[in-house]
């Protein structure tokens, strides 16, 4: 009798733990589902096709950058220069488009992103400067170059029907092309992180740089490559953003670094490095787009977006701290 009671109690407890475990593991996914369900139930405009498409579109701009950033954060570094890098790629696209045509411009922009990303990596690893402060300086340099190129915060146009359809087109008239690109980016990054030797190296460097170095891994090269991936992803996001807006300016992505890092962190990737979840970042990007769409619909002043983004970043970190506390318990 007594033993059955204990067993029952144990089952009860393990169920509770299971639920708790599930919620702590998939909290961002649950949060996304709940907020979408509530918003769709109370607001007819929110569940309209146009708005849902717009959410997917907005999610893909931050999401594509966040995919690369997840890999970099797993390796134990950061890149705060992405807003400047994106602006520079944007104004370059505008200049190259009439010369090279849509196809080559696309590759030129992504290559420039990879190149600038590698430059960040070299500055961080070879000059041994902490990543976030080095990339903060690089952000200023990229922004300045973009400003000089355009002669100020002037908006330059990106108009080429083929190129613009990258941003405005949709598969079957439903799924925006940038969203498809986002899915492709995440699949590629998932392959890199979880199914390749390089991914294992990334995690090794992120968990313990000293151990990785001792084991003979080329730590600097691994990091530089991760920075290059971030640069490439950011430039890709810049391509779609520029194509969608059909314009570009140096400041087209102000605050992008904050959004991207917030997306990664809210998705559950730890800033300590060594592990990361791309599924979490994917969901995080969607969650951010949903919240920002809700703020728009509710007619909240645009300035609240600043407050919301920052507050989300800090509270996501708080939730992570709480989660690791629960896991330890």
């Amino acid at each position: 009798m007594e033993s059955t009671e204990t067993a029952n109690h144990n089952i009860h407890r393990s169920r509770g733990m299971y639920l708790l475990g599930f919620l702590t593991k998939y909290y961002i996914q649950s949060l996304l589902l709940i907020s979408v369900a509530i918003l769709a139930a109370v607001n007819p405009y929110f569940r309209s096709m146009g708005n849902l498409q717009n959410i997917l579109l907005q999610a893909s701009f931050a999401g594509i950058g966040a995919a690369g950033m997840t890999l970099l954060i797993v390796s134990g570094a950061f890149d705060l220069s992405v807003a400047g890098l994106l602006g520079l790629c944007g104004v370059l696209i505008s200049a190259l488009l009439p010369l090279l045509g849509a196809f080559l411009t696309f590759f030129a922009a992504v290559s420039l992103g990879v190149l600038l990303g590698s430059l960040n990596g070299v500055v961080v690893t070879k000059l041994r400067i902490p990543a976030f402060i080095a990339t903060l300086g690089m952000m200023n340099i990229y922004l300045a170059l973009a400003f000089i190129w355009t002669g100020g915060s002037r908006v330059v146009s990106i108009s080429d029907p083929g190129f613009n359809s990258l941003g405005t087109g949709a598969l079957f008239g439903i799924l925006p092309i940038p969203f498809l690109a986002m899915i492709a980016t995440y699949l590629a990054c998932y392959g890199i992180l979880n199914r390749s030797v390089y991914g294992r190296c990334l995690r090794a460097v992120g968990s313990s740089e000293v151990a990785a170095r001792t084991a003979g891994l080329p730590v600097d090269f691994i990091r530089i490559l991760a920075f290059a991936i971030v640069g490439g992803c950011t430039a890709l996001a810049g391509v779609f953003l520029g194509a969608e807006l059909s314009s570009a300016s140096a400041i087209m992505a102000t605050g992008y670094e904050l959004t991207v890092i917030a997306v990664v962190v809210i998705g559950g990737t730890s800033l300590n490095g060594g592990e990361g979840t791309l599924f979490g970042s994917f969901t995080g990007a969607l969650f951010f787009a949903v919240i920002s769409s809700a703020l728009n619909i509710l007619n909240v002043a645009a300035y609240w977006q600043y407050v919301a983004t920052g507050a989300f970043l800090i509270s996501a970190l708080g939730v992570q701290a709480l989660r690791s506390y629960i896991v330890v318990q």
Partner: protein
Amino acid sequence: MSNAVASHNVRSSLSLANATRLVQVAESLGVFVLLVIVVTTASILAPGFFTYTNLTNTLIAASITAVTGLGMTFAIAMGGFDLSVGSVQVLTAIVVASLISIVDPPLAILGAVLTGLAIGLLNGVLISKLRLPAFVVTFGMMSVIRGVALLVTQGQSVMITKHIEFGLLNNGKILGLPVPFFIMVIVFVILSILLKNTAFGRHACAIGGNRAAAIVSGVNIDRVTIAVFGLVGVTAAISGVMLASQLMIVDATLGTGFELQAITVSVLGGTSLSGGHGNLIGTVFAALLLATIASALNILKVISFYQYLAMGALLIFALAIDTARRAFIAKSLLSRS
């Protein structure tokens, strides 16, 4: 035998301390020499640089940066950072500009300083109690406070029309020197005493030098962390008040990139990002250097975007020097032990 080892250890640790001090002196001197060179070059190349008016303006600009830079030096010595100072500066400038139409200037200034203190303490609490990395918390706070500043002003600018004697805080002269310079000197003296001669300052350096050792020695890490971030908030608020009295019209877009300047002057002045010590006088010289460069570029009519570029390059340069210095100290440690 053991005596010989002990004396050898003492000697090597002494010579290490000497090497470190030598590097530190060389560093302040280095920035000072650089400052003299830049001032001389600017005086020759940029006609109108070496005039009373321009020098005064340069000194005012340097003082505003230096005040926050001094607070930042304290935080970096503790192994922390504050990326929210630009937003705090603009919010407190708005607070003082708004309050001054209601209350007397001293009360308005007090309101601004308390706002800065409150934000700084909040940063400190989040960092120490939730054990979150300083730069992400202050990065998030940078966005939050900027948003609050935009919300408070609704994107409009706030003009100071009442109590225009508030401008004396900027234009006033004592012995021919502008008031902001004296504010900076007062902040410098207070922070120097705090850093070198109080338990609080030594604890802050101890945390930056070796956190684990500081915990074991019974330093109350949380309390020191919260106090240091509170201090940074106050210095940012003082810079905000100085900015408001300089411009007399403020809006929420001011102060972007200010955090970068504050960190640059600290590191350029010889405070290592690895923490453990703060070079306050170096910070002051570096702020003067930065303001001189900006003023010379202005007179030479170099467009402001290039100043952005110079700023970023200077930061990377200062950080590279910092790395080289750390390598040098590590090397002398190895060769002497």
